[in-house]
């Protein structure tokens, strides 16, 4: 069944996030003879369109305007509504990211659609699309189908097989001029404060080094940052560490906080409360470092080291430096 599939590109700091390619991979599989259209919204983003054809986009629609430089929900919605008036989508994929999460439900209302959020797998059963998503932060999974209307979907990064290129499509670039109304611009981003360290994008990170109460202080996180840097990863934290004020809530991983699925999760001084495990148990490989051999985190860890994180982590950093030549 041919479907028109849209991929709303996820852009952060003028770069395409990897999840965009996850979505393009899924879109190619879902289109089944229909068209794949990538949507690029922002300012100074036109150059990101090149090469998306090779990742499966038949067309790349570009809305590039100064008023779109920051994320203004209604302005972005106006762009997508304008696009929808030109081509009716059957499936619209957004990233389950700061922008996608905030945009998809409102767009679903505009086009009279249901939405399935935070999807980790898309399958076809008896000709219909079945979307798998975690609930209770991964303590259970559900399969959801659409009964009617277009399908709006947000996609969890790092889960769907990404497009690796080679689709060989021209990826025709179509500029989308959208007359924005004053009403579209009532919310105004006055300032963006970049708090996270460079490269530390938790939900997309391939490697996460995470600290708990065992880290004991804000300074105690320094060795974790050093290990993360060598591994090209990000630093996360448990609720205990955030509540104790060792780090910002933006780093919190768990049922309250972020759910992450990196290739490698290194839990340092984290006991493994159920609510934390819910947020990270989908990680491919889990390493636990904890003084307490009875800590529940060892039950779900692939590899465990019983020891003081302040001894283990620096040695690990040093060993990786040697092996990786960094």
């Amino acid at each position: 069944m041919a479907r028109n599939v849209w991929v709303v590109a996820d852009i952060r700091q003028q770069k395409l996030r990897q999840v965009t390619f996850d979505m393009l991979g899924a879109a190619q599989r879902m289109a089944e003879g229909g068209r794949v259209t990538a949507m690029l919204i922002g300012h100074g983003v036109a150059e990101l369109a090149a090469g998306l054809g090779d990742h499966g986009a038949d067309e790349v629609w570009v809305a590039d305007a100064p008023q779109l430089a920051s994320f203004v929900p209604r302005a972005y919605l106006r762009v997508l509504a304008e696009a929808a008036s030109r081509q009716t989508p059957d499936v619209v994929l957004f990233a389950h990211s700061a922008v996608g999460k905030s945009l998809a439900p409102a767009f679903a209302v505009r086009i009279g659609a249901g939405q399935v959020s935070d999807v980790t797998s898309i399958d076809t059963e008896d000709g219909r699309l079945v979307f798998t998503r975690p609930i209770y932060a991964g303590k259970a999974l559900t399969k959801v189908v659409f009964i009617r209307g277009p399908m709006v979907v947000t996609v969890r990064p790092n889960n769907l097989p990404a497009s690796t290129g080679g689709a060989g499509k021209p990826g025709r670039i179509v500029p989308l001029a959208v007359p924005l109304q004053p009403d579209d611009l009532v919310t105004l981003v006055q300032e963006v404060v970049q708090k996270t360290r460079a490269g530390a994008d938790l939900t997309e990170a391939r490697v996460i080094v995470s600290g708990g109460r065992g880290v004991q202080s804000a300074e105690g996180f320094q060795p974790l940052y050093e290990l993360a840097e060598v591994l090209g990863g990000a630093v996360g934290a448990s609720r205990g560490a955030c509540d104790a004020g060792y780090c910002d809530y933006a780093l919190q991983i768990g049922q309250t906080g972020k759910t992450v699925t990196p290739d490698l999760y290194i839990a340092c001084g984290i006991s493994g409360a159920i609510q934390h495990i819910a947020g990270m148990s989908g990680s491919k490989v889990i390493v636990a470092i904890n003084k307490d051999p009875e800590a529940p985190i060892f039950q779900i860890a692939d590899y465990g080291i019983v020891g003081d994180l302040f001894e283990v982590v620096p040695r690990l950093t040093q060993a990786f430096r040697q092996v990786l030549g960094r």
């Binding site: 249901g114 404060v193 491919k284 860890a301």
Partner: protein, 256 residues
């Protein structure tokens, strides 16, 4: 300033999930106010304390959700509404449609809700609600200031902070860090026990079954595949570190 807060009752986050015949079991489970909604309630009460007005809490949920509403009343909310009708919660679009009907019953200046619920975690309802009402919205807010019919909200965006200015009426979704929710006082709990809770059916809101017809359907609920127990490394610390580095680089190939 009149504020509406959308509240969901959820499982305590320390609860394990037991699934029988594809249904999540509720027996013996401790229920709480969805933690993100708790921030929303607290923020609403603080705004009321600063600016006057009333705080109304609303839940679209089963009978047991009354307990969550009582908690909100005990914290300092003034009125509570429960819409208990299974059709009203068929999917996120249905819940948002019902909430929009509730929001239209009174002139509210602000609607607050949690950024998502820790059970279904879909994060749609508040934003759908804003769009149904034609109101602007700011999601995942960690700091909120309201003055002279305008709001300034600090929004968590993948760890960065966006400072957003917006006019009222407005929908705000609460992110962790917005505030430290208060514990209800004994006096508050006693007062809350006596307060009436308005119970509404779809028809009371002028809604027909077709207005809340779902777009999506859950066809299966199941436990994730069990994780195989791993191994605790042994030997001296240097040997353990070497074994781990080797395993991650050569066996698992997750480091490069």
């Amino acid at each position: 300033m009149n504020i509406l807060v959308c509240v969901k009752q959820t499982f305590d986050t320390e609860e394990r999930i037991v699934i029988e015949d594809g249904i999540i079991q509720e027996e013996g489970v401790r229920f709480v106010v969805n933690p993100y909604d708790e921030y929303a309630i607290e923020e609403a009460i603080r705004l009321k304390e600063a600016h006057g007005g009333e705080v109304t809490v609303v839940s679209v949920g089963p009978e047991r959700a009354e307990e969550a509403l009582r908690t909100a009343l005990a914290m300092g909310a003034d009125e509570a509404i429960l819409v208990d009708d299974p059709r009203a919660r068929a999917d996120e679009a249905a819940v948002a449609t019902v909430l929009a009907a509730v929001a239209r019953q009174k002139p509210y200046d602000l609607i607050l809700a949690g950024n998502y619920a820790v059970d279904d975690g879909s994060g749609q309802v508040a934003i759908r609600l804003a769009e149904l009402l034609g109101w602007p919205y700011v999601a995942t807010v960690i700091r909120l200031m309201v003055a002279d019919g305008r709001a300034t909200a600090h929004r968590d965006a993948e760890g960065d902070i966006e400072v957003v200015a917006a006019p009222l009426p407005l929908v705000i979704t609460a992110q962790q860090g917005l505030n430290e929710p208060r514990y209800p006082s004994l006096l508050g709990i006693r007062r809350a026990a006596k307060k009436p809770i308005a119970r509404l059916r779809l028809s009371d809101l002028g809604l027909a079954a077709t207005d809340v017809a779902p777009y999506t359907e859950v066809v299966a609920t199941f436990a994730p595949p069990a994780k195989q127990p791993g191994r605790i490394l042994s030997g001296t610390l240097d040997e353990q570190v070497a074994a781990l580095v080797d395993a991650l680089c050569r066996v698992e190939r997750v480091v490069s």
